[in-house]
Symmetry: C2
């Protein structure tokens, strides 16, 4: 992983090329090992081997894909025994610090935590591994925590799929709590929501403003709102915001989980509020495990990702075709300007193949 | 349209067959006319010819599709000059009565109104035309209104696309206000949202309960909440609900339109509140036409529908394949039970073709 990063450092990529993990690997193929080496490493909770396994599943080389599939299949019976928590919030809300503080609270409670990220804009060559390790320094040095940045480049669907595969490997390696963090710019929240059990939205006091950049609809998807930075002069404002949001959440359409989303305050700086957040997640897990929603949702998510994989493959193959790549921008412009209708444009593009 | 309905009446369809408009037409092909006959009819605002044109675009016969495409292209320069309003709400909220009352208010103000519906579950053979005409009796007899039920059967994507095509024809026939109604069971709201300028959510007083069945995220997409049935003993409750929701709406992420969604009360029975609702829509239109959001959104919607058409075609072709149809349920069950992972299952299904 780190070597792939170094290889690519300082090689600026022309902006029109969509960088993929596979491209990086193609330049200087990473040595891959036997399936059993990866699998034994994961079973033995060897963090370095887990990291290399994730690098394997992120590879797009056909021979790696096959091995990756086998590895995932082998890990499947060992996976699933974790609480998967999606964490989102706008840039500036303090996600990294929150994850540090809440993460420490979780590992201190005897859990093993893996932190994954979905960021379709990430290019690992820009140093986001280093970034992640720096911005979550305490967790990075915590023996019970594993931090893995977003797979780099590619479509949101592709990035998200790789993250979901990484979840399975982390679980097989004995991590019982998984955080999946979004970058909070309104693209990846739905993907994270569709692979987690519990969705936590970080907010700031100052109603409305703090949500700038969050996609509409995300608030209604959340199982818990946490008003962060409830410290110093901000405590009163945070408590007011909590009351407001608590009231608003009651007006939302009821969730099929029967869970009633709630709002809490926290200070990542001072470490306050963490116990209640963990309590809320535990209550949710108890409720949904008892009423069957937990397993129903996981089963639905698995089918969803199967269909997403199929659809993404079919659609990517179409849009990756050089003739379509050439014709698409012209056609889109025509459609935007009302020179042709959407359906004729679609039909003309489909006729190209 | 009506003849196709009659032809199909009394012919029960085996439940496993997915009925499509095309199936109906195949049984006894409807006579189609010259392109110019349709186009002249639309230009002359001939309602019967508009209805037959929509029947043409709903047909799946290849020769009809080609003619339909030409008709839509010919109508395109005449279309776009309307306000497209999405209306949703749970069954029982009083959508039909609201559309009757608000529709009359609109036609009384000198507008021409077309009411379309998206209902992926509709089978026209079950008499939904009759249903629509009965449940909106006043509008059905209003010379300035045109009511068209949902295209029957098929996938949501297909049904929605046909409705969007029908919008273009209605606009070309001089309708300056279009209602697109959903059945409000949580499936079609997103489709309606992606083809309308303004999204109106009908609600009942009695916080929360009234939203049962509305998909989470829909409330945040709405430009206006209307608390219906604000009459009799219900007025006080409706006003309280309005205050609550008004407060909640302020907490939502800001819309890129800069519009601040609002909540109003109305009584479809007594006809109260209609003026304010129309005022709200007009304010929205003024704002978004001035700040450029209106045109930007329409252009984005057009591109969205082009891509949706392509994706839907690619994906449908895959799932319609007999080998996939046979293998899919088995594979889905395996995925649900954790016997295989989503990605291997997807890959195995893709390998079948």
């Amino acid at each position: 992983m780190d070597s792939a990063l170094k290889v690519n450092k300082g090689i600026p990529r022309p902006p029109e090329v969509n960088p993929r993990a596979g491209d990086i690997l193609k330049k200087r193929p990473a040595k891959t090992m036997d399936l059993s080496t990866y699998l034994d490493g994961i079973k033995n909770r060897d963090i370095s081997m887990l990291a290399q396994s994730i690098t394997l599943i992120e590879s797009t080389r056909p021979e790696d894909r096959e091995k990756a599939h086998e590895l995932i299949s082998a890990c499947l019976p060992l996976s699933g025994n974790s609480v998967r928590i999606g964490i989102t919030g706008v840039p500036g809300v303090g996600k990294s610090t929150f994850i540090e503080t809440f993460g420490k609270h979780i590992t201190d409670s005897g859990h093993r935590l893996a932190v994954l990220t979905i960021d379709p804009s990430s290019e690992r060559s820009k140093g986001s591994i280093l970034g992640d390790k720096t911005r979550m320094e305490t967790l990075a040095n915590n023996p019970h925590a594993f931090i893995r940045p977003s797979p780099s480049g590619g479509s949101l669907g592709g990035v998200a799929r790789k993250t979901r595969e990484a979840v399975l490997l982390c679980e097989a390696a004995g991590f019982d709590t998984i955080f999946i963090e979004t970058v909070g710019v309104g693209q990846s929240e739905t993907a994270v929501h569709s692979m987690t059990d519990f969705f936590l939205l970080l907010m700031l006091a100052g109603a409305g403003d703090g949500l700038q950049g969050i996609k509409r609809g995300i608030m209604e998807m959340s199982d818990l709102l946490v008003i962060n930075k409830a410290d110093g002069n901000n405590v009163e404002k945070a408590l007011q915001a909590r009351t407001l949001y608590q009231g608003a959440l009651r007006l939302f359409p009821p969730s099929p989980s029967s869970w009633i989303p709630t709002a809490l305050t926290a200070s990542s700086m001072e470490g306050t509020g963490m116990e209640k957040i963990l309590g809320s997640i535990n209550s949710y897990m108890n409720l949904t495990r008892c009423n069957g929603y937990f397993h129903k949702k996981r089963a639905e998510q698995a089918v969803y990702w199967m269909r997403e994989s199929i659809n993404d493959y079919l659609v990517s193959r179409f849009y990756d075709n050089p003739r379509i790549k050439k014709a698409l921008p012209v056609m889109e412009q025509k459609v935007k300007e009302g020179q042709t209708d959407s359906f004729r444009a679609a039909s003309e593009l489909l006729d190209l193949l």
